[in-house]
């Protein structure tokens, strides 16, 4: 390994990227996104299992004001400031249908023709999970109200029944499961991962294949630089660039993250893994266009595969993808929720990185410089 050759090749890569305005623009865009996230992003967790969109406002629309509605109004817990009580006839309507603004949900309490009420839930998302907290509060307080009503009525009929437990006392406690994603750390994880994958899985094969297509790779191969030195320069440059950009984005999210060794371990392992994927694509693709398409297809295909496997509880397959382990690992490091099982993810990423790098080396030598 000759230092002057490595230095020349590394400088060459640096100058190529400085001359690539598109890449610089995208890097700046990512940094701006991280800055916006750090200023405006919400920390409020939405619970384990995934991101749910929060409602901006929940309307409780009723046809008539009564003690039930008054009870609900008086028993709004803290954190439910977004609930708005109003009469149905005061709600904006269009062709007889109530119109709700985007990001709103609603609970309508209507009177039935016969005795009784119809409770109609309106939620903006498919599963209704965004309305879930409000729904839970509504039914809990409704149950309490009517239980009190029943108890009072029974006591009037039979004073002896005073104090009888018609319904057991239920104490409620709420806790958040570990591993839950708050929107801010989830977005930060996405930005960091995107930076790594963009540099190593997209830029590297694209620019390497451009060199191959133009014959520049061959010209370098005819110079005193050995194939190993040319590859090593790429091995060093692209992960370093990915690490720097990812580090900047993570640092904007939370500067203290940069002092955590597990964060750098997780980032390094992810960078090496994505480098291996990128070099494999570079070895297989013959043209720059094929490399770009290959990178995009890889990222989309693997992301879809992991998603489908998770949704359908398909075992084993997700563990074979970097895109399964890296987000878990990086999020845990960013959100300071590193647990013992994340070491397993780190090991998985390391093994996958070794696999991809080995495959890339074999393919690169076999396919040659043209």
């Amino acid at each position: 390994m000759r230092w002057h050759i490595l230095k020349t090749l590394l400088l060459k890569e640096l100058h190529r990227h400085l001359a690539n305005r598109g890449g610089i623009a995208l890097a700046l865009l990512l940094i701006v996104a991280a800055l916006l996230l750090s200023i405006f992003g919400k920390d409020k967790a939405t619970g384990a299992g995934g991101l749910s969109g929060e409602l901006q406002v929940c309307f409780l629309d009723y046809e008539e004001e009564n003690s039930w509605i008054a009870y609900l109004r008086d028993n709004l817990p803290s954190g439910m400031e977004h609930v708005r009580f109003r009469r149905l006839d005061q709600a904006p309507q269009n062709d007889g249908k109530v119109v709700y603004p985007p990001g709103a949900g609603a609970i309508q309490v209507r009177k039935l023709d016969s005795d009784g009420y119809k409770v109609w839930m309106w939620h903006p998302d498919v599963g209704g999970s965004s309305l879930a907290p409000y729904e839970a509060w509504f039914w809990r307080e409704t149950q309490r109200f009517f239980a009190d009503q029943a108890s009072t009525a029974l006591t009037r009929i039979r004073p002896l029944l005073r104090g009888s437990v018609l319904l057991p006392k239920i104490e409620e406690q709420r806790s958040q499961l570990e591993g839950g994603m708050d929107p801010r750390s989830a977005l930060a994880t996405s930005l960091v991962l995107f930076a790594l994958f963009f540099v190593c899985v997209y830029l590297l094969p694209s620019l390497t294949c451009e060199e191959r297509e133009r014959g520049i790779l061959m010209a370098q191969a005819l110079s005193p630089a050995s194939p190993g030195e040319i590859l090593i320069a790429k091995f060093l440059f692209y992960p370093a660039m990915g690490l720097v950009l990812a580090g900047i984005l993570a640092g904007i999210y939370s500067p203290v993250v940069l002092t955590r060794p597990v964060f750098w371990l997780a980032l390094l392992a992810s960078a090496l893994g994505s480098l291996g994927v990128g070099l494999t694509i570079a070895s297989l693709a013959r043209t720059q266009r094929a490399a770009s398409m290959g990178s995009m297809c890889y990222m989309m295909a693997v992301a879809l595969l992991v998603f489908i496997c998770q949704q359908n509880n398909i075992p084993v397959l997700p563990y074979l993808a970097l895109e399964f382990h890296c987000p878990r690992m990086l999020h845990a490091a960013l959100a300071n929720q590193w647990a013992w099982y994340h070491w397993g993810s780190l090991l998985g990423v390391t093994l996958l990185a070794i696999f991809w790098l080995g495959l890339a080396s074999v393919l690169f030598r076999r396919r040659g410089w043209q």
């Binding site: 002057h4 050759i5 230095k7 020349t8 090749l9 400088l11 060459k12 100058h15 190529r16 001359a19 690539n20 133009r214 014959g215 520049i216 061959m218 010209a219 370098q220 005819l222 110079s223 005193p224 630089a225 050995s226 040659g368 410089w369 043209q370």
Partner: protein, 327 residues
């Protein structure tokens, strides 16, 4: 008068071998001792710098080069010609290490091209037929990269730019260069490390007359400095002007190997196209006595309105050797 003893002053131009001469023992009366000045030209055989020994190149079942034997001397300008598909590119690909020989051996300065490839690499420079620069960099930056790889000083970059007359455009990005300028930059890059052998693939392609002449002049200067140049070209004029020797390939085989002049003379046909007064056209072979006599009669009778000699030039010798008859 016989040769006498004398004093020989030898003025060497190149590595020398002295010619000895014998003199009779007696000096005729009246003759003084002659002083003979001899200018001795090199008679030592230059080193064989490139040897192709039974080179065979196959792409599957297709044989692109079939048993090619060639030796290039140091300081020789060698042309490799042939129609499309003759095997020139395949030969060049072997020489620049892109393709291993299917059979045979290639030695560069005595070193095997397969076994000793790493040692051979700094020995040669290569100018491809297609330009391969970093378009986003300036001409100078492109050369700086390769100067860094070859570890040559920056001063050499200036020398090479000056040699190809690109010093004024060195600060411009290569994407602003014309095709001819890009080709000249390729040549400058190939010369950075002062190679002993230079391979050029169509060196004059896309060059204007001035630039093509510049390149040819540069090649001749390099050859004088002892660099061996092997070029492939379709430009017959270039071959005749610059090449010391030419190899003509056809369907992977060597069909001719000699200087352009010798090849022309070997394949020349002395014929004359004549148009008579009555419009009849005839061809007379000047080497045939009868036909010469007939031609002389026509000329003497004033019946000839047009007479044109048909000496083969190198282009026609090439066509004849590669199977396309000239009519």
């Amino acid at each position: 008068m016989g040769i006498t003893r004398g004093i020989i002053v030898i003025e060497p131009l190149q590595p020398i071998v002295c010619y000895g001469f014998q003199v009779p023992p007696t000096l005729p009366a009246g003759h003084s001792v002659p002083i003979l000045t001899l200018a001795i030209t090199t008679t030592m055989e230059p080193a064989q710098i490139l040897e192709l020994d039974g080179l065979v190149v196959r792409y599957g079942a297709f044989v692109a080069v079939d048993g090619l034997d060639l030796s290039l001397r140091q300081g020789e300008l060698f042309g490799l010609l042939g129609p499309n598909g003759a095997g020139k590119s395949s030969t060049l690909r072997v020489l620049i290490g892109q393709l291993p020989p299917s059979e045979g051996h290639v030695r560069v300065a005595g070193q095997d091209i397969v076994r000793d490839w790493a040692k051979i690499k700094p020995f040669f420079g290569y100018v491809p037929d297609r330009e391969n620069h970093f378009d986003e960099f300036t001409g100078r930056r492109n050369l700086e990269i390769f100067a860094g790889l070859y570890r040559v000083p920056d001063q050499r970059i200036d020398e090479c730019l000056e040699a190809v007359e690109l010093e004024d455009a060195a600060h411009l990005p290569v994407r602003a260069y014309s095709l001819g300028m890009r080709r000249k930059l390729l040549l400058a890059r190939a010369l950075l490390h002062r190679p002993k052998i230079l391979y050029l693939d169509e060196p004059s392609a896309n060059l204007d007359i001035h630039s093509a002449a510049l390149v040819r002049r540069l090649l001749r200067e390099l050859v004088k400095e002892g660099v061996t140049v092997l070029l492939t070209t379709h430009n017959m004029q270039e071959v005749e002007e610059v090449c010391d020797r030419v190899a003509i390939l056809c369907k992977g085989r060597l069909v001719a190997l000699d200087s352009p002049i010798n090849l022309r003379q070997q394949h020349a046909e002395r014929r004359v196209d004549v148009v008579l007064a009555d419009g009849a056209r005839h061809v007379f072979d000047l080497d045939a006595d009868e036909e010469r006599a007939v031609l002389a009669r026509y000329v003497g009778a004033g019946s000839v309105t047009s007479l044109q000699s048909r000496e083969f030039n190198f282009h026609e010798a090439f066509l004849k050797l590669t199977g396309t008859e000239f009519t």
